[in-house]
Symmetry: C2
């Protein structure tokens, strides 16, 4: 079965697919995150891989919102080190480059490198798509910022590696499926809840986890859209939803929330090593 | 003294300035949020106004990050209803429009309206700047999405009002100053803290507020950038930092956090009425 991701071939999300499913995984690119969710829902693909947060930029809001709209589960977590390359045509030299194309976040992450070279930065919709564009348009005085794999796929050359300003740059992805994963002993669980608007409501929910020594690894708030300044909370904690203390905590927060949606339990990803 | 904001004249941030400082306020536009912070720091302006969160899109991450980089205070809060207009040249009719320009968030918020008209949407850096651009470039078959005020300033016509899909759309702004505000009786306080990486660390901090019946109005997490998957928390609560129970809570969380930065206390904004 194929694995869906958002972006062009060579996108960081595609690399995340291989790091989880192995190098022989069959990938299927989609234009939007919503199409990735939709393709898992309809059964076009069994799994999808979507970014959920970056260690520098923070949460990917669109992905968080889609988990409310779709009834899908998280069955896995991937943490991928992000390292940007400057990519151009084979005959192009570094001092010939006048313009660089990439996603605004990638451009921002390489700001110091670009300032040294004094080249114009132009925003595009994605990293790998920029490599494809400068190839197809035969832009000989331009470069793109993207992954090493994007250079391979489009048969282009890498003029510089690791050009990001902050080296410990990694992105966390969720693996989407119709079901979550069984207990592995090294699990995390993700939930969404809406707290009742009373003083200390969020605290009352967190107390149920703290009282059971369940470690929270992430908390994120997103506006409900229906009522201004009311929030949905997205919580990740250590443990599998079938473990006794997790079951108890999830049961006890039902009375303290407007709703709780369990996105699923999955084996926690290894964190990448940064040898800096 | 002038008030700094980010964007072109006619930006929603400029309207926020008038709603707080009155219609005779002198405004000074800057290109970036960082320049607004810098201008308050250097004393070029006494106050700056920056968006902090939108009721649909969520937090403005860049503003949150700048509060860590700069040692400025929050002395006021503004909540402004956002209502988008479709703006064009005086002789342009609705059925002549082939292209619409605006900031990607404004385009997204008017998606249903644009789909009905079947016109192409093109992303730009800001809303009011798009009005200025179609005026200067004399684009007679184009429109921009921006505020009513942007149409006035650039002497253009409004073809449609309230074109946003979700009507209860408002943005919350902070007023920047070198000092926060005195006690008013209807105050809020904003702080940033880093929780120690131990189970229940966040809970231990929130407990100090809950135990004193201090109502939390917002919690936001942002990556620290220095260490992947460690977060700074941004917390807003009801009360002034000089009130006894707030003083006690702020004192007691010092032992439970790596650092606490008090952004300031300010009079809470009135929430806009939505007559829908």
């Amino acid at each position: 079965m194929k694995v869906a991701f958002q972006g062009e071939l060579g996108a960081y999300s595609e690399s995340a697919v291989y790091s989880f499913f192995g190098p022989s995984a069959e990938v299927k690119p989609y234009k939007s995150f919503a199409e990735v969710f939709e393709s898992v829902k309809t059964g076009d693909v069994k799994n999808g891989v979507v970014p959920i947060e970056n260690s520098i930029e923070g949460s990917v809001n669109r992905t968080y919102d889609l988990f409310l709209e779709y009834d899908l589960k998280v069955c896995g977590e991937i943490i991928l080190r992000i390292s940007h390359c400057l990519i151009a045509h084979r005959d192009t030299k570094l001092d010939q480059i006048k313009t660089v194309y990439s996603h605004p976040q990638a451009l921002a992450q390489c700001r110091k490198f670009l300032e040294q070279l004094n080249i114009e930065a132009i925003s595009t919709f994605d990293t790998a798509g920029s490599v494809k564009m400068i190839k197809e348009e035969k832009l000989m005085d331009a470069a793109a910022i993207a992954s090493e794999r994007a250079a391979e796929i489009y048969n282009m050359t890498i003029l510089a590696r690791e050009i990001e300003d902050i080296k410990n740059n990694s992105t966390r992805f969720f693996v989407l499926n119709k079901q979550d994963s069984p207990y592995s002993g090294e699990d995390k669980t993700s939930i969404i809840f809406a707290a009742k608007s009373i003083p200390g409501a969020l605290y009352q929910v967190l107390k149920e986890f703290a009282d059971r020594n369940i470690n929270l690894t992430k908390i994120e708030s997103r506006p409900t859209k229906s009522t201004p300044w009311e929030y949905h909370f997205y919580l990740d904690f250590e443990g599998h939803r079938t473990e006794k203390q997790c079951q108890d905590a999830l049961e006890s927060i039902k009375d303290k929330t407007i709703f709780v949606k369990i996105l699923g339990s999955y084996k926690a990803a290894n964190k990448p090593n940064f040898n800096l």
